[in-house]
């Protein structure tokens, strides 16, 4: 098996976390190789200039790899999962089809065991992560405004908030009427020119890619900088397993190159950045004498404690035209009125509400986020007319808590194009999550009606909502109760680091990419300070 000269580090995965680590280490002079099974997504290949652009949401830009079935994808057996795991395999990873919410964790999110007696505390605090949040925000480019009373003070945002439009203003009035919190979303989408990239022209479908580069996906933020520093990014390279030397340390990675040839890339340090499904999949597929149950899995926790976010989709229909298909689909306004635990409720922890736009006519007809397809037949045109441009989506996203029964394992039968076993995902909502969602749907209905909705549509749970893949190689101080330490280093393999959402201890109730990137930059900083590659 041929192998290439050794770099200092090999990173598996070129998404948000792999890109951040590649940039940070390269800046310190490390020789970095990154292997990515996908390719660059050319802006010219995005559908935004075509009249039938909405078809791509249902086909090759669908967020579900089982629907998309591109050559860069691997199948996921999700038959036993409440939520469909969603991801994108390309340079930039899932930020390619990302609606770019960019919130931070709250301080309490790191201390759920101490504060509420559930889940586990993180082995680090908000204060410890804050400098890396700031660094990540600066490198990413974040629209927003500071002063939000629901969260600690934070560094100034990179640009102004994005416009919220009639839709956002209508919902803001609803929140105000009830005396509830709302705030413009922090969005990784530029409202002004920033760092050589243009301001967003508010075209809408961020989930189909961003052809202007205004949305801060990793292919336009960290990657250009990392490549300029000399990082070797090899696309079309699918890693099969992490190889292990006789002393039980990681030796490198074994991968199929674009021609299908099996290669080994050795390196003194291996960094996994393949998301909360891909990373446990590869570790479980890396079985050897010292690690018969998968690499770094002496705790038996690789693949366990999978968390998504409990999610329900609600939508309000308004009499007035809210022009609700104009503007970035995801980042409008949010509310954290019910974010923290309130013992008067019948669940612990909390949830956020996110106002999300409609998209074009096809998505309206298909029902969009609330999956409420417009009826066929004689009533079709009347109902379409009532909804198109008149609908506001309001997502209810709660905190997930770790449970070992929610897991990623290797499928005994299903495999990808290279014969690598596919992941099998088992996930079900806990009783706490079900109660949280029921309460959250009630509050969402209340605020939609306060804002003037004449009809509220509910989809609870909303199955195609597995955007956030977390917890499957959890971080902790105790090697028996966690897979990696507080720096992301595997307890069992001292030259193996994990930097994606796998390491999350709890999910909080916010979108995770902000925290994934901050943790990745923190891990890279640790590697640089300690010379872990030497």
């Amino acid at each position: 098996m041929p192998h290439w000269p050794e770099p200092d580090v090999v990173i598996v995965g070129a998404g948000a976390s792999g890109a951040a680590v590649a940039w940070s280490l390269a800046e310190a002079g490390f020789h970095v190789v990154c292997l990515e099974q996908g390719d660059w997504v050319s802006p010219a290949a995005m559908p935004h200039r075509r009249d039938d652009w909405e078809l791509n949401r249902l086909t090759d830009f669908n967020a579900d790899p089982n629907v998309r079935q591109l050559a860069a994808d691997y199948p996921v057996n999700d038959a036993a999962s409440t939520y469909t795991p969603l991801m994108f395999n390309a340079v930039g990873g899932s930020t390619i089809h990302w609606s770019a919410h960019f919130p931070r964790y709250h301080p309490s999110d790191f201390r759920v065991k101490s504060l509420d007696g559930v889940g586990d505390d993180w082995p680090l605090s908000y204060a410890e992560l804050e400098p890396f949040y700031d660094l990540s925000d600066k490198l990413t480019g974040v629209a927003g405004t500071i002063g939000d009373p629901s969260q600690p003070p934070r560094s100034p945002r990179g640009t102004r908030p994005l416009p919220i439009g009639r839709l956002g203003e209508t919902m803001a009035a609803g929140f105000e009427k009830l005396g509830w919190h709302w705030w413009p979303s922090d969005g990784a989408i530029l409202a002004d020119d920033y760092d050589g990239r243009p301001a967003c022209n508010l075209c809408g479908p961020c989930d189909l890619g961003c052809p202007t580069g205004a949305r801060s996906s990793a292919d336009v933020t960290f990657w250009p900088k990392a490549l300029a520093l000399g990082v070797e990014l090899r696309t079309g390279c699918r890693v099969r397993e992490i190889s292990v030397s006789a002393d039980g340390r990681a030796r490198g990675v074994v991968y199929y190159d674009p021609d299908g040839a099996l290669r080994e890339q050795r390196a003194p340090l291996v960094v996994m950045a393949c998301n909360g499904v891909g990373t446990p999949r590869l570790l479980l597929n890396s079985r050897s004498g010292p690690f018969p149950d998968g690499l770094a899995n002496r705790s038996g926790l690789v693949g366990k404690n999978l968390m998504f976010h409990p999610f329900a989709a609600t939508a309000g229909v308004f009499a007035e035209d809210l022009d609700s298909w104009s503007g970035p689909i995801g980042s409008v306004i949010f509310s954290h009125e019910f974010y923290e635990t309130d013992r008067k409720r019948d669940f612990v922890r909390g949830f956020g509400m996110q106002v999300v736009r409609q998209s074009g006519p096809l998505q309206t007809a298909m029902g969009g986020a609330s999956s409420s397809r417009i009826p066929w037949g004689e009533t079709h045109h009347r109902v379409f007319g009532e909804r198109f441009g008149h609908m506001v989506n309001l997502g209810v996203m709660g905190e997930d808590l770790p449970e070992t029964i929610n897991e990623v394992v290797l499928d005994p039968e299903l495999s990808d194009a290279h014969g690598i076993p596919a992941p099998l995902v088992r996930y079900r909502l806990s009783d706490n999550s079900l109660r949280l969602l029921e309460y959250g749907v009630g509050r969402a209905t209340e605020v939609l009606e306060a804002a003037g909705a004449t009809e509220v549509v509910v989809c609870n749970p909303s199955r195609p909502a597995g955007w956030h893949l977390l917890g499957t190689c959890r971080m902790g101080e105790d090697p028996a109760g966690s897979v990696v330490d507080r720096w992301g280093r595997a307890h069992d393999v001292d030259n193996l680091f994990i930097v994606d959402g796998s390491v999350f201890v709890t999910s909080a109730a916010v979108n995770p990419t902000t925290t994934i990137q901050a943790l990745a930059l923190r891990t890279a900083d640790y590697i640089k300070r300690t010379g872990s590659h030497a």
Binding site: M46, L70, G204, P211, G213, P361, A417
Partner: protein, 293 residues
């Protein structure tokens, strides 16, 4: 591109899309050519250039400056340079993946694939995993999957799923069935689903009314379809979804329903800037986040 074909496994035996990484081809009606899937071509080409460049990123991986892909301001230029047909409405989704002989049997006219020498960014709009529906159905590019009667049943059913409105006829009379037939040609499971469903519509019409579905009045056609929706929900969901796909991606329909009937780019949309005074009351609120050590 080769790999260990012996190890390939997948749950859907009808689909080779995760496996057959070298064999996907897509028909571009604009250039009248078949193309290999863009991502695979670019991966292979990029890898060769990568190796030739001694392991440094090249244009196939990044922009000419070596720091990322080209963005939209350049994208339109590169399209015109390659002659790729990306004018609005001209691009067809009538892709016919893989072996045509697999999909339409002896009735299909097989066209010899012509491979471009190299992948040119912007030439194809990503490898569609399932054929979509064109704005301007082109019978010449439509493999015959349905016979005349089946095609007319489909047309009549589509007219009931999305009836006529003001100046527009129903979905069937708009030709949405042509796109569905193309999708059927590209997908064995979809073909199976639709052939069974169209048969069920015909049988149900005879059982309920002792008449051909096509000759029933609209109200009785609707009753038939409601029955079929109960009996074959998967087929009916596919019928409705494909009707909506075809119907709402037509420019004339978009215009009729009040959309601005243009793609998201290059113009985007205009919205007034965020008004910070909307937050005055929120800013006065006492911080209520929960401190934690």
């Amino acid at each position: 591109m080769s790999h260990d074909a012996g190890s390939q496994q997948f749950h859907d035996t009808d689909s080779q899309r995760f496996h057959d990484t070298g064999s996907q081809r897509f028909y571009d009606a604009g250039s009248q050519q078949f193309h290999d899937a863009g991502s695979q071509q670019s991966q292979a080409a990029g890898w060769q250039q990568f190796q030739a460049a001694g392991g440094h990123p090249t244009a196939a991986h990044s922009s000419p400056g070596g720091v990322g892909p080209e963005f939209d301001s350049q994208a339109s230029q590169s399209q015109s340079q390659t002659g790729a047909p990306h004018s609005h409405g001209a691009q067809s989704h009538g892709e016919v993946p893989r072996a045509q002989s697999e999909t339409a049997g002896a009735r299909t006219e097989t066209k010899e694939p012509q491979h471009p020498a190299t992948y040119r960014p912007g030439e194809v709009a990503g490898p569609q995993s399932e054929a979509g529906v064109t704005q301007e159905p082109s019978p010449a590019n439509t493999p015959a999957v349905l016979d005349v009667v089946q095609r007319e049943v489909l047309r009549a059913a589509l007219n009931r799923v999305v009836p006529s409105r003001e100046s527009l006829p129903g979905a069937g009379d708009l030709g949405i069935g042509d796109g569905i037939e193309r999708s059927m040609a590209a997908s064995i499971p979809l073909r199976r689903l639709f052939l069974e469903g169209l048969g069920e519509i015909a049988i149900t019409a005879h059982l309920q009314a002792a008449e051909d579905f096509r000759s029933l009045d609209p109200a009785r056609q609707t009753v038939v379809l409601e029955t079929v929706e109960q009996r074959l929900p998967a087929f009916f969901a596919a019928l409705v979804e494909h009707a909506y796909r075809g119907y709402y991606t037509r420019v004339d329909v978009q215009r009729a329903v009040g959309h601005d009937a243009r793609p998201p780019q290059p113009l985007g949309h205009e919205l007034p800037p965020f008004d910070p005074t909307l937050l005055d009351r929120q800013r006065r609120r006492t911080p209520f986040w929960r401190p934690a050590p």
